[in-house]
């Protein structure tokens, strides 16, 4: 990937920040997409960026959406060998496709506690050098909610506990969710609550003018710049377009590309 292409998104995420080089400048990154434009693009970029940024970095991936082979194929095109990373214990793939909370009427807390225990155990057993470079990813939260029998409160509890892990071990939490799947008339509590919790919110949307051949969508990155969570922070907003190519993704400011 050309350095320039990764710059806009990485810069917006704070990857080049002096305080935390190699990590996004925020503990919770929320990616919100919609039917017209998928946010998987950003997720794949973050997987690769997290693995490449530091020699001891580790990614724990909770997959509700696709099997391992899918991500392996896509990341291979982006220049990252997920199978090798998995074998080297740097990429932990937790396959949740077949997992469902037992539907016996009880609240899914036991199931979620077990899942949290698994993640916490994985991190605790890591080499001390890796413990500070962990990224926990969920693809995606809406399917997680389905697996938890629709209990958004319990999903939020789980996410809260993952966030406490990020402060305990200085790691990052990335989640993908869809903003257009919630019923009108009902408050989409899950996604609103996540927007409050998120340090960085990335909105993946189509262009206001519709679909285009050369520009596949726009990203709006809202960064609370909470490197120092105790200090107030104005929210910085960046907006730019992206184009998905065969082996890479190009990011550019609107109007700066001549086709």
């Amino acid at each position: 990937m050309e350095p320039q292409a990764s710059n806009l998104l990485d810069e917006a995420l704070g990857f080049h920040g002096h305080a935390n080089p190699g990590r996004p400048g925020g503990r919770f990154v929320l990616i919100e997409d919609c039917l017209d434009t998928s946010g998987a693009v950003v997720l794949h970029h973050l997987i690769k960026r997290s693995l490449v940024s530091h020699p001891y970095s580790v990614v724990i991936f909770l997959a509700f959406n696709h099997p391992f082979a899918h991500y392996d194929r896509i990341l291979r095109k982006l220049g990252c060998n997920l199978a090798a990373q998995r074998d080297n214990s740097r990429f932990f793939f937790i396959d949740m496709l077949m997992c469902q909370c037992p539907d016996d009427g009880k609240i899914p807390q036991f199931w979620l506690t077990g899942l949290f225990e698994k993640i916490e155990g994985l991190i605790s057993s890591l080499h001390p050098d890796s413990k500070n470079f962990v990224t926990i990813m969920i693809d995606d939260v809406s399917l997680f909610e389905v697996a938890a029998n629709g209990s958004s409160n319990d999903v939020l509890d789980f996410m809260h506990y993952c966030l406490t892990l990020t402060s305990e071990f200085d790691s990052t939490f990335v989640a993908l969710d869809h903003k257009d799947i919630y019923l009108d008339g009902e408050k989409p509590i899950l996604i609103l609550e996540m927007e409050y919790l998120a340090d960085i919110l990335i909105k993946v949307e189509p262009l206001a003018t519709g679909l285009a051949k050369d520009v596949h969508g726009q990203l709006t990155v809202m960064n609370k710049e909470t490197q120092n969570p105790q200090i107030s922070s104005p929210i910085k907003i960046r907006n730019f377009h992206f184009r998905i190519k065969e082996n890479s993704i190009e990011y550019f400011y609107p109007g700066t590309k001549a086709w």
Partner: protein, 373 residues
């Protein structure tokens, strides 16, 4: 008015009255309630340390942020957290609110290592049990201030998280119990109003003696942020309006408005920038294409106008009889009767007796207002 809020919280509760309660509300359009909360926390903490406030201590119920972040916040703002004089305690409801970590440690037969960052923190693991939370808070606060008559204040971050773990009636009961407690001087907490149905923030508004709203300058129409670039501008995420509603004991409600700005040093408040120096209330009037108020010149001209029933119309100077002064020009017959109507003369006249000097023309005042029946 942030200063007024801090003053009310500093003054605390009167004997036999409920403690003042502040709710700070925001929404995703302007998510700065926590900045206001931190500001008030720092101000109140400084006042407690200086001995200027009714409270002798503060208990922070840390639900959405870790205790260490509060300790760092206070240290950054120059507040002495590690003072030998016990004045602060942070109840850690963030690290393990539901006891999951506790269960994991037990299942691994690992001894529960007290994960305290300092002596001023203690952990709480039963967020769904508000009665227990209440007794823990009052116990901790009582331990801080030691004397039975001394008071402490309670800061809750956030009320939305409490509502998520329990129900609205139990949170209302919990807040009510806190306000009634003898040793509590004041309470304040923050709420994200768009996470709840309308009736929940309304219920908490009724329970609060002060409600502060953090709003953007322009509300979006459908309550959701649109996906167009127009709705997202950097300005809307650093500044906004800060409206506060004070409920006095006598029932009077006062609304004040300020502007706030957030920068890396913190949040700052300035008075509303208004045209022609009108009071803050005018900021709440709708913007119209005609002027509802009088300019100075218009006011003086209006004062000069002589009303048709106040002049004799025949060139004689204005005489207004108000029943209080003795008249030199009127005859004795007029003095005896209370109304003092003039006897019939050839020409008709209208005689107007003004009720009081203070009454403005066109006043809406009801003259029977001061009757005590």
């Amino acid at each position: 008015m942030a200063e007024s809020i801090c003053r009310v919280l500093r003054d605390g509760a009167l004997e036999g009255e409920h403690a003042p309660a502040l709710t700070i509300k925001d929404s995703l359009d302007s998510p700065f309630a926590f900045d206001v909360f931190s500001y008030i926390l720092v101000q109140l903490s400084s006042q407690i340390l200086r001995g200027n406030s009714q409270s002798r201590g503060i208990v922070i119920v840390a639900v959405s942020r870790s205790p260490s972040s509060y300790i760092s916040l206070l240290k950054t703002k120059g507040v002495d957290v590690e003072s030998s004089q016990k004045w602060i305690h942070i109840l850690d409801c963030y690290t393990d609110p539901l006891g999951w970590k506790n269960k994991i440690q037990k299942s691994r037969n690992v001894k529960d290592i007290p994960h305290q960052s300092s002596l001023i923190t203690s952990s709480y693991k039963a967020m769904k049990d508000l009665e227990k939370l209440f007794s823990v808070i009052t116990e901790l606060g009582g331990g801080l201030v030691e004397e039975k008559k001394a008071r402490f204040c309670v800061a809750i971050d956030s009320l939305s998280e409490l509502l998520r773990h329990t129900t609205s009636p139990s949170v209302s009961g919990f807040l009510s119990n806190l306000r009634c407690h003898d040793q509590i001087s004041c309470i304040f907490g923050l709420l994200h109003s768009d996470l709840h149905d309308d009736k929940v923030p309304a219920a908490l508004d009724y329970m609060s003696s002060m409600v502060a709203n953090v709003e953007p300058f322009h509300h979006s129409f459908n309550g959701q942020r649109g996906n167009s670039e127009n709705s997202l501008s950097e300005q809307s995420f650093t500044r906004g309006k800060f409206n506060v509603r004070f409920k006095r004991r006598n029932g009077r409600v006062r609304v004040m408005s300020e502007e706030f700005k957030v920068d890396p040093e913190g949040i700052s408040f300035t008075s509303v920038s208004s045209v022609d120096g009108a009071s803050s209330v005018s900021g709440l009037l709708p913007k119209l294409q005609f002027n509802l108020q009088l300019s100075e010149k218009e006011r003086t001209d209006r004062a000069k106008v002589v009303l048709p029933f106040e002049h004799q119309g025949n060139g004689r100077p204005i005489q207004i009889y108000d029943g209080r002064r003795s008249l030199e020009d009127y005859n004795a017959e007029a003095k005896q009767t209370s109304g003092g109507k003039k006897g019939g003369s050839g020409t008709g006249e209208i005689i107007y007796y003004r009720d009081s000097d203070d009454e403005m023309p066109d006043s809406d005042e009801d003259p029977d207002d001061d009757l005590d029946i």
